[in-house]
């Protein structure tokens, strides 16, 4: 009997700590509801206890001075700002990763050879939702400027007839054709270039990038 009392006393601190684990512990609240739903709004990262102590001083407890019965790890979670379901899935996927993807897209233009890179860049975004398109455009322009590319807020314009024709053909042909028309109508001058960002497939969660210069359209990604 005494042996088991000793075992209980020795393991009590660890048991109490385990009980407080929000996923695994028996005190975790959603025994009936299934823990999954609450966890889906979080982006988590498993890091070592030592790293967690360094990154979050005061929030991650120090191991007991006389050793520890548990092999501890820390799981750092950040709740997403927009709860699941508030925005359309594709919009959420595009917007959730916009900082990284806009930097990446701008990097493709910033990496072009000098005569092109030195031009003044216009940015055009094709995305089904205009609000999301505006966000992508803003982020891309800022990312270009941060990479030292000259950018203008000017938007390329087309005649109503051109717009009607372009709306009827598939994007594979529409972008090169639009590029030719921009140059033909002087909407895109000799010192200008256009960066086009497009969602090429409505089922995709990536944006494709191309550019138009001197009437030539090229896809970069």
């Amino acid at each position: 009997m005494e042996f088991w009392i000793y075992v209980l006393l020795f393991s009590l601190p660890s048991l109490v700590e385990y009980a407080r684990d929000p996923v695994a512990g028996p005190l975790a609240p959603d025994l009936m509801a299934g823990a999954g739903e609450a966890l889906r709004g979080l982006d988590c990262e498993a890091i070592s206890h030592v790293t967690a102590r360094e990154r979050y001083p005061g929030r991650v407890t120090a191991p007991p001075p006389r050793g520890d019965l548990l092999d501890r790890q820390a799981v750092v979670c950040r709740a997403r700002l927009m709860p699941p379901g508030v925005r359309r899935a594709r919009d959420e996927a595009i917007l959730g990763d916009l900082r990284r993807s806009s930097e990446e897209m701008a990097g493709l233009v910033a990496g072009l050879a000098d005569p092109l890179r030195e031009r003044t860049w216009l940015v055009e975004v094709y995305y089904p939702d205009p609000q999301v398109a505006a966000k992508v455009q803003f982020a891309t322009k800022n990312a270009l400027l941060e990479q030292g590319v000259r950018v203008t807020d000017r938007a390329p314009t087309l005649a109503a007839g051109d717009v009607e024709v372009l709306g009827r053909i598939d994007p594979q042909r529409a972008w090169p054709l639009a590029c030719t028309r921009y140059v033909a109508t002087d909407s895109l001058g000799a010192g200008d270039a256009l960066m086009g960002v497009a969602l090429r497939d409505r089922r995709a969660t990536i944006l494709n990038v191309g550019y138009c210069a001197d009437g030539d359209w090229r896809w970069l990604r």
Partner: protein
Amino acid sequence: MSHRSMSYVMPDAINGAIGGAMSYVIRHVAAVACLMLLALPVARAQTAEQAQRAELEELRRVVAGEVQLAAYDLVDELVYRWNQSPPFGEPTPVIIADLTVPVGMGTGLAALVENHLAKLLIDNPQSNVQLSACPSCTAMLVHSGREGTVVSRGLDNPKALDKVGGPGGRHGLYLDLAAEGAWLVLRARITKLTPDLPIVYSQTIASPVGAPSLLRSSQGLKSAAEARDEYLDALEDRGPYTIPVKFAVRTYAAADEFGFPPAPVIWLQTGFEAALTQARRWKADIVLGYAWLPDAYQGFMIQSRMARLLGQTRSLTGPDVYLVLGAALMTVDGVAVAQLADLGQSNNDGTVSTRGTFAGLHLGLEMRVANRVGATVFLENMPAFNDSDRIGDFVDPFGIEFHSFGAEVSFCF
């Protein structure tokens, strides 16, 4: 839709009943009942849809509420950066061309952020960004030229804007707040409103969800690091050490045999107080005290205390309560406190001495507001007077006699 179809059917059924053809009525009533039954799932679905929409709106409102302070923080940071490194060499009029909020949130947040930005720019003229109004910039203009008829906002078509007496080479400020995963991102750009619309300035600032808001004051805008230091200062109340000045009064219980108690003794005390932990959950002090009432008494004392915060954290705005345990060594002399005198002692002139020197152990509660002002009540046991016939006790829980009841007010410097 279900309500409309019911209202169209019902008059027919009533008309039929008035006509006296019962079968007609029954047939129509049955039809109505069937329609109602069929309509039920539709109505339920509508209700569920409405409930879902309401829930979504509520969710959006909650998120907007959570985002507001973070958005203010980002705008503060933007203006702080402008103060440090102004985008223009001299004060320059700028029009707020556009301010957009995260997709999925209402425009109420945009208005709040715009107001906050306006206040910041007025309070921080050193940013060189001067807010300017331009109604024609945001109005829709119809412009016919060589390239055809163009309908656009004035800002997007500077040529047309010039013709209606536009801002003439002023600048437009575009701001965008975006919710990207666990980050709130503020993007800003300034565009010169000339036909080429060149972007002359851009900035992207991000803040993770859950980072505490710095709540910076709009005047004398500080950096995030400085604001955080100030916040920590507030938490730590500018260092762990304070100098308290206390006014304390100790009253004594009368012994049954003696009939009346010694006069209350009023002490003026000062010394040194230290917080033992950064969060000020534990603190200790040591003070020296002096008491004097003409023709009544004079006294000296030294006192030390430990105190523990009741609760986990101190409040920045409300009072905190500490449990106090202390010990004091006192010496008092005077006719008003003669019951406290040491027995059998004489003065040099042969008269009976009224000086008493004794120790006390006290237990009490201290209420402290913002580590500036405090009030304490305590009960004190003086071991020298246990079972005494000169001093009684107020209470004696567990056989411990508390001979004295004290109260004090303290001011910390």
